[in-house]
């Protein structure tokens, strides 16, 4: 049942074959979106778990699994469509009331991964899905309860966005804990842990609003579309909650380059700040969002991190990119960075205050486009490594509470220094 390729140059966006499949699915209550690209290693157990989650949590509801695939060559779409339940392929060991369609369509991956979300949103709108979730195809393990936990707040409790929280290692997701989470919290006043969501749920009204916005002009919505989705929910005043899912286990994969991740997260955030200034400039402090289950659980088992390499890359970067930093940073901030770059391993400390000033000055420079915006984002990479080194050092022997307190302290620093950001922003207007 895998579909033909979407051609983004077509006015129709969705292929005729995919539309035909959607006609056969008809109106649904629940839609599970699954963006994939060569995920055959993991996607099989994931779709089975999704199916179990639907059948267990919502046996009476009309449901569909929509796979938006970026042109897999490993049989990923077939694994997804193979778990359909219908009267031609009855699941003999499953006691089910309904047909469950699992359909797939293929997009040209070079056009960007945002196309997958756009496809899922378009399908959700056409099928008038009441509650939707998007699941990551890369998790090593998920539980059926995740499906119900993500859907229920939308389907039964009227929330518009369900953001996940996980049980993670205390050093997992350093970019989230040291930048994305505290900065979004300071800017928008919403304490959302995983704004760049691997899995999430959304209502039809939020999905439709996001689908109808202008950000799709390049066809794929740009990088970091999941983060833009979160920001759209905050910006639009939609009801947001968090739900604890469980341990997030990633499959083994090659180390991803930091810069693309920065582009998707920090770049997206900085870009959003442009248009959102009237919103975030008036926000003072922050409030927790309703959270079902734990807000965060940390694992403390030992892990090997090459901290020395991080500090070296920081120090090298400060030297090599000095001319760039002079355009981005204030002289006092740059001087302080240069000072700590010369410190030995024992003395090195990239303080929370200095880190927040750094980030805010980067954001303000990004807004003014003092140099190419992409170069600004790239220049942040070595500095983030320095901050990561300090975070790792500070929390090496820390308990979960210690680590949480550390993160909370950083968040408060982001909030405390926010007037500095507003001042810079206004002065540069």
């Amino acid at each position: 049942m895998s579909g033909t390729e979407l051609n983004l140059e077509d006015e129709t966006f969705l292929s005729d074959d995919f539309l035909r499949q959607l006609i056969n699915v008809g109106e649904v209550d629940i839609l599970v979106g699954l963006p994939t690209h060569n995920n055959a290693k993991t996607v099989g157990p994931i779709v089975h778990t999704i199916r179990s989650g639907i059948l267990g949590g919502f046996p009476r509801e009309r449901a569909v699994i929509i796979n938006a695939d970026g042109g897999s060559r490993d049989g990923t779409p077939e694994l997804v469509t193979g778990i359909s339940i219908d009267d031609m392929r009855p699941a003999s060991n499953l006691n089910t009331l309904r047909t469950l369609h699992s359909i797939s369509t293929t997009y040209v991956r070079s056009t960007g991964s945002g196309v997958a979300l756009r496809t899922i949103l378009a399908a959700a709108e056409l099928l008038r899905a009441k509650a939707c979730i998007v699941m990551s195809p890369e998790s090593a393990k998920i539980e059926p309860e995740w499906i119900a936990n993500l859907l229920r707040p939308i389907y039964r409790d009227g929330f518009d966005l369900v953001s996940p929280t996980y049980r993670r290692h205390k050093f997992d997701g350093l970019l989230m804990t040291n930048l994305v989470y505290p900065m979004i919290r300071a800017l928008y006043g919403a304490r959302i842990r995983e704004a760049y969501m691997p899995e999430f749920g959304f209502s039809n009204r939020l999905g439709n609003q996001f689908l109808g916005q202008n950000g799709w002009r390049d066809g794929n919505g740009g990088p970091g579309v999941e983060l833009r989705f979160t920001l759209a929910a905050i910006r639009g005043g939609y009801r947001i909650c968090q739900v604890f899912l469980g341990e997030k286990e990633h499959i083994e994969r090659r180390a991803t380059d930091l810069v693309p991740t920065l582009r998707e997260t920090v770049g997206t955030l900085f870009a959003a700040m442009d248009s959102d200034f009237p919103i975030w400039s008036t926000v003072v402090g922050s409030k927790p969002v309703p959270t079902i289950g734990s807000e965060q659980e940390l694992l403390l088992n030992s892990t090997r991190v090459n901290r020395k390499r991080l500090r070296e890359m920081f120090s090298t970067g400060v030297v090599e990119l000095e001319s760039v930093f002079r355009l981005i940073l204030s002289s006092s901030t740059l001087a302080e960075l240069q000072r700590i770059a010369r410190l030995g391993e024992e003395e090195f400390h990239y303080s929370a205050e200095l880190w927040v000033r750094t980030v805010y000055e980067f954001a303000a420079s990004y807004q003014k486009s003092v140099i190419s915006r992409d170069h600004i984002i790239q220049a942040l990479a070595p500095l983030f490594r320095g901050r990561a080194y300090t975070f790792l050092a500070e929390n090496r022997n820390g308990s979960a509470t210690d680590v949480e307190n550390n993160i909370e302290g950083l968040c408060l620093e982001f909030e405390r220094l926010k007037p500095y950001l507003v001042q810079m922003w206004k002065s540069r207007e």
Binding site: R20, I23, G26, E27, I85, P90, N95, R98, T99
Partner: protein
């Protein structure tokens, strides 16, 4: 229209189920009777049915609406006399309508003389006609059917100070079919009615005839042997008669009741009925196709009997727990609508009086493989009265007109055997046969039409079925075939309009002729055949190569 001698007449039948008491009262005593029913045969003939199934009309204490029989060879005096019955039989046959009567083999009333004799003394010659025990521990593996009222299948008899076996109400002791005298006696009962001219029996509660320790006491080989013996006698002495099994079982367990074409001619397909309702509510064909996929082939001389509603509750015994919960929530939100393991409601209220859904369900009833049975009053969309106890809410007087007592009886209303339906939606001023006869677009007139179309071809009663499984799961589509004739049936189970593509390439070159209007649809080609259907719409197409 004389009856034919076709031994397989039941395959082409449209059966109308009626209780004499409920249909028409000719003598003004408030109770329907055989002369009254005879007066209404023209109505049934006009409707198009060609068989009637009469519920028990024997003398009875009526503690189970006549299924507690007190005398097998007579007529309950409230309903008339044996002569009245003979006249009805003759009049029905004159109109080409066959008569099927109820026969309760499994048990009698505790007021039946046989039981009175049996309990009178442990040494009475009829003692062994029933199943007795000094304790209530036997046959432990046997389920209790009437869970709402019974706590055991054994009941204490204070007269003979022992326990007797009963699968239904405690006032209905089971006969002992291990006793050859019982078997002979019950054949004599059947022969009595066959000699009079009845065309068939609906044999009640047949899975429970024999008990054996360590079993469920259902569907036992010994039971099948007894039934085969009856069939052998029937075939040996009579022509073109029919046995219909009431066995509320899964399809695989039902299959043995057909034997090798040497046991029952017909059997109710109980598991299909709730799944038709389920499929409609789910807007998904899966429950229907799955149960029909599980339905085994039956001998060519045999036939399934299909129904939407009957005199009992909409039984949910043959569904899973999850399906049962769903059905209760969807169709019986009020606890008073539930009885035993089922829902005690009529067709129209179950479907919220939605004409489109009523038509669709009847369309499936008439086009799926089997012989359809229409429950009296459902052809005009009668309602029910859930405030009446047991299953009496679906057994109220037939609503003939908007006049006195709905045209059912001239008696004082207080004397009617049951109150009339009087609510604003389903009450007899709004729902009655006379007004619907006069209205071209009434449900009654529509039912006449669909029965006429159904009877225009033998393919529905005798043809094979092949499901088409279009990707749109809201569409239930199948081909019925008999010889060179092929009919395509397409049902939209959804409350919204649907598009469907059907793979009809094997029938390339045929045109489709819609059977109700005889309009021509486009010729079948190489491409999937595209149809659009409105909410709950269905089509019957005759395929024809031109």
């Amino acid at each position: 229209m004389p009856l034919t001698n076709d031994a397989l007449w039941y395959k082409d039948a449209i059966i109308y189920q009626v209780h004499v008491r409920t249909f028409h009262d000719s003598n003004g005593d408030g109770i329907g009777d055989f002369p009254g029913l005879e007066q209404k045969l023209d109505y049934l003939q006009e409707l198009g049915v060609n068989a009637i199934w009469l519920m028990p009309f024997f003398p009875s204490p009526l503690r189970d609406d006549g299924y507690d029989i007190g005398d097998y060879n007579s007529i309950n005096s409230s309903y008339g006399t044996l002569d009245d019955f003979r006249k009805l039989l003759e009049s029905a046959h004159d109109r080409g309508i066959r008569v099927i009567i109820e026969m309760v083999l499994n048990h009698t009333s505790d007021q039946h003389p046989w039981f009175q004799e049996a309990r009178s003394s442990r040494n009475n010659p009829r003692r062994d006609w029933y199943v007795w025990s000094d304790n209530d521990t036997g046959y432990k593996g046997t389920r209790i059917i009437f869970l709402d009222t019974e706590t055991s299948n054994w009941a204490w008899d204070p007269t003979s100070k022992s326990f007797y076996w009963h699968r239904f109400f405690s006032h209905q002791p089971d006969l002992n079919y291990d006793n050859p005298d019982v078997r002979e006696q019950m054949w004599d009962v059947m022969k009595f009615w066959l000699d009079m001219g009845v065309d068939g029996f609906r044999l009640d509660a047949v899975p429970y005839l024999v008990e054996r320790e360590g079993t469920s006491c259902e569907n036992l080989p010994e039971t099948h042997n007894i039934l085969k013996e009856l069939r052998q006698k029937l075939d040996g002495q009579f022509k073109a008669r029919m046995l219909l099994a009431e066995a509320n079982q899964w399809p695989a367990d039902l299959r043995p009741y057909f034997g090798d074409g040497d046991e029952f001619h017909m059997a109710f397909h109980f598991p299909l009925m709730p799944r038709m309702f389920m499929g409609l509510k789910l807007e998904d064909r899966k429950p229907i196709t799955e149960i029909l996929q599980q339905t085994p082939e039956i001998p060519s001389s045999c036939q399934w009997s299909l129904f939407l509603r009957n005199h009992d509750e909409l039984t949910l015994e043959m569904v899973t727990d999850m399906e049962r919960d769903y059905m209760y929530d969807m169709y019986a939100e009020s606890k008073t609508m539930r009885l035993n393991v089922g829902i005690r409601r009529r067709l129209a209220p179950l479907l919220n009086n939605d004409r489109r859904r009523i038509e669709l369900m009847n369309g499936m009833l008439m086009s799926l493989p089997g012989t359809p049975i229409i429950y009296y009053g459902d052809e005009i969309g009668m309602g029910d009265n859930i405030l009446l106890g047991d299953r009496n809410g679906v057994r109220t007087p037939m609503q003939w007109s908007g006049g006195w007592n709905a045209g059912f009886s001239t008696a004082e209303p207080q004397r009617l055997y049951a109150p009339l339906i009087q609510d604003p939606v389903y009450g007899y001023p709004a729902v009655n046969a006379v007004s619907q006869k006069e209205s071209e677009h009434s449900l009654l007139r529509w039912m006449q039409r669909i029965i006429t179309v159904r009877r225009s071809t033998a393919v529905f009663g005798r043809g094979s079925i092949e499901f088409l499984y279009p990707a749109n799961h809201r569409i239930l589509a199948y081909l019925r075939r008999l010889g060179r004739e092929t009919v395509l049936v397409v049902n939209n189970l959804s409350s919204s309009a649907q598009a469907v593509e059907l793979d009809l390439r094997r029938h390339k070159g045929n045109i489709l002729i819609e059977m109700f209007g005889n309009n021509i649809f486009p010729r079948v080609g190489d491409l999937p055949y595209l149809l659009t259907l409105g909410p709950y719409q269905f089509y019957w197409f005759r395929l024809r190569r031109v």
